[in-house]
Subunit: 398 residues, 2 copies
Amino acid sequence: MSHDLLIRNVCPWGAPKTDILIRDGRIASMSPGLAADGIATEDGGGAIALPGLVEAHTHLDKSLWGMGWRPHQAGPRLIDKIETERRLKKEWDIDAHRQSARQAVLSLSHGSTAIRSHVDIDTEIGLAGFEGVAATRADLGEVIDIEIVAFPQSGMMCRSGTLELIEAALASGADVVGGLDPCAIDGDPKGQLDAVFALAEKHGKPIDVHLHEPDELGAFSMEMILERTKAHGMQGNVTISHAFCLGMADRARAHGLVERLAEERIAIATVATASRPVPAAAELREAGVTLCAGSDGIRDTWGPYGNADMLERAMLLGLRNNFRTDPDVEHALWCCSYGGAKVMGLPDYGLDEGCAADLVLVEAEAVAHAVTAHPPRRLVIKRGRVVGRDGRALVEVP
Amino acid sequence: MSHDLLIRNVCPWGAPKTDILIRDGRIASMSPGLAADGIATEDGGGAIALPGLVEAHTHLDKSLWGMGWRPHQAGPRLIDKIETERRLKKEWDIDAHRQSARQAVLSLSHGSTAIRSHVDIDTEIGLAGFEGVAATRADLGEVIDIEIVAFPQSGMMCRSGTLELIEAALASGADVVGGLDPCAIDGDPKGQLDAVFALAEKHGKPIDVHLHEPDELGAFSMEMILERTKAHGMQGNVTISHAFCLGMADRARAHGLVERLAEERIAIATVATASRPVPAAAELREAGVTLCAGSDGIRDTWGPYGNADMLERAMLLGLRNNFRTDPDVEHALWCCSYGGAKVMGLPDYGLDEGCAADLVLVEAEAVAHAVTAHPPRRLVIKRGRVVGRDGRALVEVP
């Protein structure tokens, strides 16, 4: 199905007003006063046009969105949250297919047109979570790109049989090999990371490792990831999520790690967590390390926050990094768009002629204003098709 | 003018549905199925009813709201922001009367019914800022309570003549004596704090001191405030804003300060700054120290963020403090309502019969849900008068 569309009167990333002609789902031309000749037309009203936002770190399989308010139950430790979630998944019937569809449509309403989702795989739930999100990926394939990370949320080496399930998911269409706190959760950093890199090599897939481990423990795990990225020639194909250790008090030590991340072209995914040390966005930018961002879990058994709005996430990233100038605030948005696209390897992403016509229109006076005010999205477009309008998705939850 | 109103079908702070009868601007009775007998009636639709939110730390005189997007200009240091602001106040005509009215009405749209505002007083602008905000306080006196802190933004001892201006403002109706970083800005902690406490004693006014000074420097200043609070018998009448030093790495040292704050009944005002160490809300709560919250500057020459939404601020406070359970998230909201009311000394604040009928209605399934989702306010009521509806203030900017 071809989606041709002329969008009049928009400011691409804050540039002077122009029209954008979309043909066959791509930006065919951008210039003021384009002729419409029978093509469907939208008036942008002078709004800012951004490339479709990228939700680069979330957990589509575990949101409670649409299931009524459920007060948080888990204790303070990471392991409390993991165990509480395994229990409540059954008790509350947190169906991965239904819930991932709800969250994906929510994302769409806020202008995200691509999602990298970690999906739990463990010896209790098996591949059910993966299959549910894969079904949503298929259901919504026309309107949103979903990439699935096969994620050993309950540990990989410490729960026998998990590794085989991860491999089965990769064989069945999972896109990325996941990992998780190889010391703190698995107690076997060499075992987990050797396994993760071996799977990635065997299946030709990139890697995305959750690394909550703080300070020197996280630095130790990060160094093991750095070594293996180099040894396996995986430069440009590894992401470390959270990477709280980069927020450590010893800035010289952290900076040494950042320089090595740049050398191995390892990307960082952040949530801009306000209550934990986080990687410094400006330091990563200066070192040439790609930073992408995500919502993490959205209203799930891990915590009650989140709404899948990546413009709001850009604001939180800006606040967390004390970004105040327009270029800095724009960089926060870059992380929530171009940064995520780079990490996901989205082809032809951007606002140039020839790019895929994934666009979001926001009424704001400047790009930085769009971030700080993050008003409801005027229009969301996926490959030329209007999929969201005035803050609402035009796609039903399947 | 009497404002009698029956609000049907609301859940006060999440309690079971009831009706609220307002007579003469006060909550006359709360019970299901109240008779209307000719009184104006609003259907609450099962919304959560909260007491009017309290913006307990902001700067009404300096917002750029409604003046078009103006990229941030100031450098990274505190003194850069102070000096840039003094320059731009003139260059951009940041009129305190006009701007404070705009921000106050914005606050109202989000359900804040009381504001404590610091207002710059210095030897360049003199009392013009104070007079502008005082005019707004008078203009909007029927719909929002505004308390003015006479605030030496450019320093008190280091700029000769400032002290006299602060005193003139107090004589002309400023409500609170302000102070600012007695070491880092004034270089004369003894001089500034002696002066501040002397003014407070002479005029019978409370004190609110901005304290950005980190770590041991802030602790040093805080100890000087503690000593003077005790010596002057000012217990219960002193607030320290920001108090970044309480976020210091040495938790035992910080806890010792918190215990002394509790003894002297000094309150803390926070913005939940994500990029700086901040006071730990749970630690203050356990020690019995009142914590209130505010937006700080809203889109001003200090930074581009802010929208005056105290429900969103409660979310930011929750995120900053890693609050996840319903009681914890509700505490974040308590700080943005009851905590601020306590600091401002608002009489008859709350949701009980006899309390002033300052109310805000939010569609949410639980109080914690209202915080995490912070949807547009369904209704805002000031002393029985409907002053906001569906996210919009019903009051024009004077």
